[in-house]
Amino acid sequence: MTVVASNPPAASRREQRPARQDSPRLRRLLQYGLMIALIGVSAFFALMSPTFLTPANFGSILVNSFALPAIIAIAMTLAVGSGGIDLSVATAIDLASLAYVSAVAAGWAFPVAVLAGLAAAALTGIFNGLLITGLNITPFLATLGTLFIGRSVQQVLANGGNPVYLSPSKLSTAVKFLAHGSFLGIPLPLYVVGLIALAAFILLELTIFGRSVRAIGARPQVAYFSGLKVRRDIAWIYLLSALVSGSAGILLSSTVSAYIPYSGNAFLLNAIGAAFIGTTLGARGHANIPGTILGVLLLAIIANGLLLIGWNFYWQQVGTGVFIFLILTFSFASKRRQQG
């Protein structure tokens, strides 16, 4: 059969590629795609339901469907930005949650309990780091393995996966404040999200570390040949991802006053979705924090909106799924058209 190439091979040995036909209008549309989607969807629901646009509703969205998913999506963004993925965020959440709740139940002071939680999460991150940088296992499989092992660990440590409840007396004021308090009218969890988002943003966009991570995410070999400390930076990323997920676990447990096994799993898919939505629809084309945040917000708004316009709870899930699908379609289809 004909040996026919459809792409110019080995660019380094090929001639000048003719300038790509770039449609500036399409590029602009794509950059603001996420914003447009957000505004469009909000407008739609605002029209369909009077209660949508109220502060009470928005407050509820932000605290209940946005805060925790956002933190986990940020963790995921770190991993995705380095060219990998972290399926074990669920494990970090759960183990941190377990450690934290156990510490509180044992009467330890709030800061110490938090540290315990973070330490447990850190263990997950370090384990991932060893697998990925030490054994050279790809992040997908390494974190998948950690996820499996984490499940067993939970089962063993929590007696077959039983929840641990905190009686109200054990809850110090600090815990209660974290979960239900507010400062200047804004619930505390949102401050946590804001802080973490800001820190992650600065880290990825403004620091040398972030640049190195971006290069690693784009072309790890090139980064290595440029003298960057690839192994070290990847290990740090997975540690950070685990720590961020761990804080989500601590926050979650504070809110429900318990450790519920495998609760992390529910967040995993949305985190992946939001991180990738942020990447593909964001202004930059690589994984970024603002894009992720908007992605989580979008998902939360869709879920909330569907609820408000009276959709059956189960149809909501379908609706959310279809929405995500449409967004992905728009994003990838237009990217294709731009490149073609």
Binding site: F140, G145, T146, Q317, I324
Partner: protein, 344 residues
């Protein structure tokens, strides 16, 4: 050949053009076969270990039962394997189908609902298979037609399927039982569960289709080196689509078996996703070239099945099963990448 070295002879490779990098000098693929032999030995070792440890293990009934119980996860894993074959080994960027478990859930819900609504098995079977194929088609269109990353596309489809399943079942289990379903979940007069026949049959068909036909060879080409496949004149998108259709169909078949085994549909089908992924990925190690194969997936399905069964017989807490699976994946992958790296 004179070596003229006046500056005018531009671009003139001197006669000894050493071409420093022949892409890969011929190397003996020792490590690959070592890995595969090692894994087969491990499989046998597990078998032997459990047989020695528990007298109940090596009985006909037990083995047959395990094979039967592995049928559902196995068939789903076959579907995933087909997709991976057609999509290449890079799981994140290549082919993957995460919608399999919810495909099964939806199919099962459809089956149960139809029976409950008074339709017969024949209708239910056709409907379930149709659902499976449709899910596969939606996956295929999103990935090939629209160009969405398989990871994202199948996650989105998974969400939609789960949602639809919830709508159908209202988040409750639907118990149904028909003579045919009861038969399916039973065994024949030799004591071999029909489910074991099922996984055997599906495995046989797929092995022939993927290893012994031109179609299969071409699908591997498409997955392993898209550019080369295109250069060979193969319509790459069509092959990728076919792999997702196979996967969807497997979902449908597994859904029927699932409904038979559990006498209805339940809400816990999404639990299966990770074990299915693990099984399919583990399968690579059983092939001589460390490629995804149906046979390899069958072996890994059985391995995990026997492991779980062995633990049960030995009264080892089931807590450990998940962890062992994880360790298995990790060791296999580490060893595989080591073997691959030696090659290059």
């Amino acid at each position: 050949m004179s070596v003229s070295y006046s500056a005018a002879a531009v671009d003139q490779r001197s006669a000894f053009a050493s071409g420093e990098t022949p892409a890969r000098p011929a190397r003996r693929p020792v490590h690959r076969s070592l890995l595969r032999t090692g894994s087969l030995l491990a499989f046998i070792a597990v078998f032997v270990a459990f047989s020695l440890a528990s007298p109940l293990f090596l009985t006909f009934t037990n083995i047959a039962t395990v094979i039967g119980q592995s049928a559902i996860v196995g068939i789903l894993a076959f579907g995933l394997t087909s997709v991976i074959i057609g999509g290449g080994s890079d799981v994140v960027r290549g082919g993957i189908d995460l919608s399999l478990a919810s495909n099964l859930g939806l199919g099962s819900a459809v089956y149960a609902s139809l029976i409950q609504a008074g339709y017969g098995d024949a209708t239910a079977i056709v409907a379930t298979l149709a659902v499976g194929l449709s899910v596969g088609l939606v996956n295929a269109v999103s990935i090939v037609g629209i160009g969405i990353l398989p990871l994202l596309a199948t996650v989105a489809v998974m969400n939609i399927c789960s949602g639809l399943e919830l709508v159908l079942t209202q988040n409750t289990a639907i118990s149904v039982s028909t003579p045919w379903l009861d038969l399916l979940s039973g065994a024949d007069r030799f004591g071999i569960p029909y489910l074991a026949y099922a996984i055997g049959a599906v495995a046989a068909v797929l092995i022939v289709a993927l290893q012994y036909t031109a179609y299969g060879l071409r699908l591997y080409a498409v997955g392993e080196h898209r550019e080369a496949a295109r250069a060979a004149g193969l319509p790459v998108p069509a092959y990728v689509v076919s792999s997702y259709l196979i996967s969807g169909l497997c979902g449908g078949i597994a859904a029927i078996l699932y409904t038979a085994l559990l006498s209805g549909s339940t809400t816990g089908s999404s639990e299966m996703l990770l074990p299915v992924v693990a099984t399919a990925l583990l399968g690579n190690v059983f092939s001589g070239r460390l490629l995804p194969t149906i046979g390899g997936t069958l072996l890994s399905t059985l391995l995990i099945g026997f492991l779980a069964n062995g633990f049960q017989l030995l009264h080892v807490s089931s807590y450990w099963v998940s962890g062992i699976q994880g360790l298995l994946i990790l060791s296999v992958v580490a060893a595989t990448s080591l073997a691959r790296r030696r090659r290059s």
